[in-house]
């Protein structure tokens, strides 16, 4: 393969390039586009839910379809929108922040993406093949094991496939951060975003296998007649709840921690100050990650675990508020005494603080086990987790996208449109979800297809629906901004924000080997350190030499395609054993591709010094 990036290529060549790429920056694009697409689908489902709940006894969609909507909305947003968008950021930024040329396993990185994408497609195919899963995103047995049709089968297979991809991604980033840091980049000099990705990856590693097992048990029960959740044969339905939440609670920290990291970088950059209490922030991140595993059963206070277990999990859950509080105060004091520049990225971050604080506070209220007997499975909970997930994760994604967009695409998102998108979304968000806390306590359980007239719930629900429309408008403006920027805006330099960390020391978008010479890191905020010493850019840690890069490969795509085909086989062999052919064909493709990968040596290629010197003339070294 030629080292020079081909400039003029047809569409076919470009598609082939993306199908086979192992470059973390292109994989970031893939995650961004597919995650964004699923975010829109999930958003559409949310709008349908809110239209149905606009007025009492509404009949916009049927009860069965409604349950499919809520299930797919939750599943899509968590697994197919938030996770991949976070992976997009991880891929785009982490190798750059630690001064690496790629992740530790570029091939696995690509495999992780394609598994996620095929898993996500599998889930959404269910809409067209007789009905989506309808047992809620938590998929509690035995409602899920007895759900007619194949909807829940799609849930099981889709999440199993995409979950495998996520697990691979998690291990990859762990190794990348441990082994691939540039000289001088000690752990305690890593940017907070990289730190939080490190902790998140650990959580992925230890949380996802529990879901894998849960999904296997569910798959065996539904497809092969086992009796894990069949009380008639001695099964126990509570096992699913435990396995699901042993995964599910860390999952919410998997979602929020990387954005905590992104906010830390953004607050610091746009206040022109180093992060206040860096070590405390690192410690808090690790502590949140650790405690995240100790509290899963707070989702199960009403299951009947008894007062001792309920009390223990209640107190453990409250403890998480302490490190979270530490973070909030450290962010505030990062801005204290700074020069706050109100860019769009900063605006989303500023909005995050009160929104997330409210979400955290209702979280502590929910942690009070007894009081949860009133909150549990009501709109109070719906309000709470949208405050943390939208107010935290989605605000964070918007902030991070505005912040790193120039690094990913070489252009700054239009600031005017950025702020124009912010206000309707921000106002709509509070309109939609604040009132839901009260709706819940006034007697509106969660996942209700209709609510009755005369229960005092009409006004609140109407307000909530109006808010949802405002959020939709905000999203549309953001999309407009993306298109507008790519057509109209001009290219910017590698460092448009006066940045502090390594990613801003190289051109935007970076060349595919990232760093011509690996940089030498001399402190926290390495680029800022050099700037304060009056230098332009980083000091290299190595002489200019050949760069070893991995080869592109189609195998990740074929491995994932195989699981996709086998997934359909597993689902439909229940009806007709002919489908076992699909199982064997799919598994054959997957295992065959893996065997090919194993047997065929792939030693990568080199970019030669002469080519690099050419690139430096064009500005790659900077």
């Amino acid at each position: 393969m030629s080292t020079a990036v081909a400039q003029k290529r047809g569409l076919g060549a470009m598609i082939w390039d993306y199908l086979t790429t192992v470059d973390h920056k292109k994989i970031a694009h893939l995650y961004l586009v597919s995650g964004g697409l699923f975010f829109l689908i999930g958003g559409l489902e949310a709008m349908i839910i809110r239209i149905q709940l606009m007025k009492p006894d509404n009949n916009f969609i049927s009860a069965g379809l409604y349950n499919e909507m809520i299930t797919m909305h939750g599943t899509t947003m968590i697994f197919l929108a938030a996770m991949p968008l976070i992976f997009a950021l991880m891929n785009a930024v982490v190798p750059l922040q630690i001064g690496a040329r790629d992740v530790a396993f570029p091939f696995l990185n690509s495999l992780g993406f394609w598994l996620f994408l095929f898993g996500g497609l599998m889930l959404n195919v269910s809409w067209f093949t007789g009905g989506a899963p309808d047992a809620g995103w938590t998929n509690y047995a035995p409602l899920s094991t007895t759900s007619p049709g194949h909807g829940v089968d799609y849930y099981v297979m889709g999440l199993q496939i995409s979950g495998a991809g996520t697990l691979i991604g998690g291990i990859n980033f762990l190794v990348t951060i441990v082994n691939m840091r540039a000289p001088g980049m000690t752990y305690m000099r890593m940017p907070l975003f990289t730190w939080s990705v490190f902790v998140t990856s650990t959580l992925i590693l230890f949380a996802f296998p529990a879901l894998t097992v849960g999904l296997f048990l569910m798959m065996f029960d539904r497809m092969f007649g086992s009796a894990f959740f069949d009380v008639g044969l001695g099964g126990n339905v509570i096992i699913w709840e435990h396995l699901f939440w042993i995964f599910g609670h860390p999952e919410v920290y998997i979602l929020i921690l990387p954005l905590f990291g992104a906010f830390s970088d953004i607050f610091s950059t746009f206040s022109k100050k180093r992060l206040f209490g860096y070590s405390a922030m690192v410690f808090a991140t690790v502590l949140i990650g650790f405690l995240g595993f100790m509290v899963w059963a707070h989702h199960m206070f009403t299951v009947g675990m008894g007062p001792i277990a309920n009390s223990i999990f209640a107190v453990a859950t409250m403890a998480i508020a302490v490190p979270t509080g530490i973070k909030i105060f450290n962010w505030l004091f990062t801005m204290w005494g700074g020069q706050i520049k109100m860019t769009s990225a900063m605006l989303w971050s500023i909005a995050f603080i009160p929104s997330f604080t409210i979400g955290g506070m209702t979280g502590v209220m929910l942690a009070a086990a007894a009081a949860d007997y009133q909150y549990h499975d009501t709109y109070f909970v719906v309000g709470h987790f949208h405050y943390v997930i939208v107010g935290g994760v989605v605000f964070g994604l918007f902030a991070a996208l505005h912040y790193w967009w120039p690094k990913m695409f070489g252009k700054v998102l239009n600031e005017k449109l950025g702020k124009l998108a912010f206000w309707p979304f921000f106002i709509g968000f509070h309109l939609t979800f604040f009132i839901q806390h009260f709706l819940g306590l006034m007697g509106m359980p969660r996942r209700y297809w209709v609510f009755m007239e005369g229960q005092g719930l009409d006004t609140g629900n109407l307000i909530s629906t109006i808010g949802a429309f405002l959020m939709a408008i905000g999203t549309i403006i953001f999309l407009t901004n993306v298109i507008y920027t790519s057509v109209k805006e001009k290219k910017v330099s590698g460092d448009p924000w006066d940045g502090r960390s390594l990613e801003w020391s190289i051109p935007s978008p970076p060349p595919h080997y990232n760093f011509v010479q690996t940089p030498l890191v001399r402190g926290l905020d390495p680029l800022w350190v050099e700037k304060m010493d009056g230098k332009e850019g980083m000091t290299p840690a190595e002489p200019l030499g050949d760069i070893h890069m991995p080869n592109a490969s189609i195998l990740p795509f074929t491995i994932s395609l195989g699981t996709f085909i086998a997934g359909f086989g597993f689902i439909y062999q229940v009806d007709d054993p002919v489908w076992l052919i699909a199982v064997f064909a799919g598994m054959g493709l997957t295992l065959g591709s893996m065997l090919t990968r194993s047997v065929k040596d792939d030693l990568g290629h080199h970019i030669h010094k002469e080519d690099l010197e050419e690139d430096i003339k064009k500005g790659a070294g900077k």
């Binding site: 209490g277 860096y278 299951v303 409210i358 009070a368």
Partner: protein
């Protein structure tokens, strides 16, 4: 003001909060208008947590507002480089220790309330009522095993007494929730039986909900808790014990309806006596607040429900068009005549208020 928090409520903050929150929702539905021991205990716990949280929020917002107003970059300041502070140990300790103390303040009553609500010390004592609650797709069965009576959709309890509920499910997981009287508890299939108790302070008809997704008609699985004075409760038990399913109805249409009911419906349903089989026990049906938990009690609605149950409650297991509309009319006449006990009928239905 019977809760242990009662004496603190006069404090200004709690007073204001209480007034603000109790403005929300409708009597006998809302958890913010507690009418029973459990709900009051939990309402107090909510007030404490909200008060602590508002305290924290005000502090955060004060710093937040100050920072944003004071430290915005002004025109011409772009070149200024602020001091790069590393952090402050004293501050870190302060915002670690104070939240811990606040959480301890919340944790103690939380643990107390959790144990209080799990208390089962008097269950099984002489004169203490235990009712078996069974969640079904999409209706509730209540068995008074000591009295050998069984009802569905309407749970009668005496006021100011602890009534224990032994809860399980016949199919999927449901959750039993009467916000105005107590918190909720899941009903699980299999061997995971749960126990909770209700204690209502006032007579009334309280709205109950299923709070765990249980299928398409999850949102239609309402029930009522009818709390009446102990004397009236005894009367009701007496009435229910004396139900004679063979009693001849008054009108001719109802008599035909009885015949049709016995031939078509009795394989699942029952009228009076102990626990029914597959379907709800329809004793005292004529005095129900609602048909199937959701429809106003009229003949037209009942006929609709009997002939097209799947349109009223999607996914329920009552067969459609088992009888013709004409036959259903006669059955409806019969069922609406089944008024075995008028205890509780004088209580106002909460939906009529406001």
């Amino acid at each position: 003001m019977r809760g242990w928090m009662g004496k603190f409520r006069s404090l200004f903050l709690f007073g204001a909060l209480t007034m603000l929150l109790t403005g929300c929702g409708i009597e006998n539905i809302s958890a913010l208008k507690p009418k029973g021991y459990g709900s009051e205990l939990l309402f107090d716990l909510m007030l404490i947590s909200i008060a602590i949280m508002i305290f924290v929020f005000v502090i955060v917002m004060a710093i937040y507002a100050f920072v944003l107003l004071r430290y915005r970059e002004k025109k011409g300041q772009e070149h200024i480089v602020p001091k790069q502070t590393e952090g402050n140990k004293a501050l870190e300790v302060i915002w670690t220790v104070i939240p811990i103390i606040l959480l301890l303040v919340l944790a103690i009553p939380t643990v107390q309330a959790t144990f209080d609500l799990a208390d089962q010390s008097t269950q099984g004592d002489e004169g203490v009522i235990t009712i078996d609650v069974t969640g079904n797709q999409y209706w509730w069965q209540f068995d008074y095993s000591d009295e050998e009576i069984s009802t569905s959709q309407e749970l009668y309890i005496p006021t100011n007494e602890r009534v224990y509920l032994n809860m399980k499910s016949s199919d999927v997981i449901h959750s039993f929730w009467v916000p105005a009287i107590a918190g909720k508890m899941d009903t699980n299939p299999g061997e995971n039986m749960n126990t909770m108790y209700l204690e209502a302070y006032e007579e009334g008809v309280y709205e109950g909900f299923c709070a765990e997704l249980c299928g398409p008609s999850h949102s239609l699985m309402y029930f009522k808790v009818v709390a009446v004075s102990p004397d009236k409760y005894d009367q009701w038990v007496e009435d229910m014990k004396n139900i004679d399913p063979e009693a001849t109805p008054e009108t001719a249409s109802a008599q035909e309806g009885q015949e049709l009911f016995n031939n078509n419906c009795m394989s699942c349903h029952a009228i009076g006596g102990a626990s029914a089989g597959v379907g709800p026990n329809l004793g005292n049906f004529g005095n129900r607040e609602k048909i199937a938990g959701i429809l106003e009690p009229s003949k037209e609605n009942l006929v609709d429900w009997i002939v097209h149950p799947d349109e009223v409650k999607p996914g329920n297991s009552m067969p459609s068009e088992l009888v013709t509309e004409e036959e259903a009319g006669k059955i409806a006449d019969y069922l609406l005549e089944l008024k075995h006990s008028d205890v509780g009928t004088e209580l106002p239905v909460q939906n009529a208020e406001e």
